[in-house]
Symmetry: C2
Subunit: 228 residues, 2 copies
């Protein structure tokens, strides 16, 4: 039982640091979004599309989580107000971002000058579901080529998401993917989930996602103002 | 440092059980292949294509690893000699198969009647790279829609593979994917890796993979016979 106890302790410690991160983010009115997906589902393209649509309305920073390489941070660095790269390869926890990593990243971000923080988690549908980071919203991107059975096969991450983005809908003509089956399994796991269908290649559907995000930003700001 | 020590112990214990598994498999001349990939890269389709081509030559069993559901095992059960499902959702290690899980699976497989064991690992490009199972060959499937940067971003799993299968090549006309860039990064990490380009949808390239596998099977059998 020793190992399970250790895991329990790790998760509890993580939860408490995540709560501290959220408090700091709330104090600076920074709405924070944790973006999770399989490798190659399109997290970076989705972040770039989001920044392109919203950069005239919000000051957006990005935390890039990767096992190795700075490929994604390079793509994002000229678009965001600030970018922090977290590379997990040689860390004891390498399959997901955890709250201590975000805590350190927040120290090097100009929180006073940021309205929205997008965290690109490690490409993984399992480990990130267990670790809160301090985020306000949890987003899962699932792409058409991955298949319509993903909510059934990785239920933890889908049942806990505020929104699920179905990406690469431009590939629907070439791939067997039953959108209604995907949606009904997903809603079965998570009745309140918001679903967006997008193509980060063509830009289809990004507008709807950005409207929702802007609305969440307004709600968050309002709540923080009321608190004071 | 306590946590890192625990992880070290877990990995060492895993290594020793993996060695026992391999000895058992060797004694029964069962060539065993650990098939790893991101979620939705096509592991199950690849296994089905492999069985379809080789079932008249080899008696093939499958171990299906999943976080949840028996969707893949259902697809495979009528094609293989035997199928064992391992579901990791409520295990302390849920993001990868580990050697103890395989040890238990081997107890319920008719090893005397099996020539080839295909293990479908959990859909994950990180955790499975750390845990040997007792396999003779490690295969990574990487699919075109995931993008050509995957070897740079997940180097551990690619640098340790005996073969890498580039799947979904039928989608090349619709997706930007630089095969030569993928291959040169991969060979940089792993100069001896064998590369196969396939489409599990059209069957393209499966023949080459199956010839290689049959050859590996013959070599393995010969080595075990000589040992006795």
């Amino acid at each position: 039982m020793k190992k399970i106890e250790v895991i329990q302790n790790v998760l509890e410690a993580n939860q408490s640091i995540a709560a501290q991160n959220q408090l700091l983010l709330d104090n600076h009115k920074v709405l924070t979004v944790n973006i999770m997906s399989s490798p190659g589902a399109g997290k970076t393209s989705f972040i770039l599309q989001t920044i392109a649509r919203l950069k005239n309305k919000l000051r957006i920073a990005v935390v890039e989580g990767d096992v190795a390489s700075t490929i994604d941070a390079e793509k994002v660095k000229n678009e965001a107000v600030a970018v922090v790269q977290i590379t997990t390869r040689y860390m004891s926890e390498n399959c997901t971002l955890i709250a201590t990593m975000i805590s350190r990243a927040l120290q090097s971000l100009p929180l006073e000058d940021i309205d929205l923080l997008l965290i690109e988690n490690i490409g993984n549908l399992i480990c990130p579901s267990e670790f809160a980071l301090g985020e306000h919203k949890r987003i899962v991107i699932s792409s058409i080529p991955e298949g319509d059975d993903k909510p059934a096969k990785y239920p933890m991450i889908f049942s806990d998401a505020d929104a699920v983005v179905i990406n690469k809908i431009d590939l629907l003509p070439y791939i067997d993917f039953d959108i209604s089956s995907f949606q009904s399994t997903l809603v079965g796991l998570n009745p309140k989930v918001k679903i967006f269908k997008v193509s980060c290649k063509t830009g289809d559907g990004i507008e709807n996602w950005c409207s929702w995000l802007l609305n969440e930003k307004t709600n968050h700001q309002f709540k923080q103002t009321k608190k004071r």
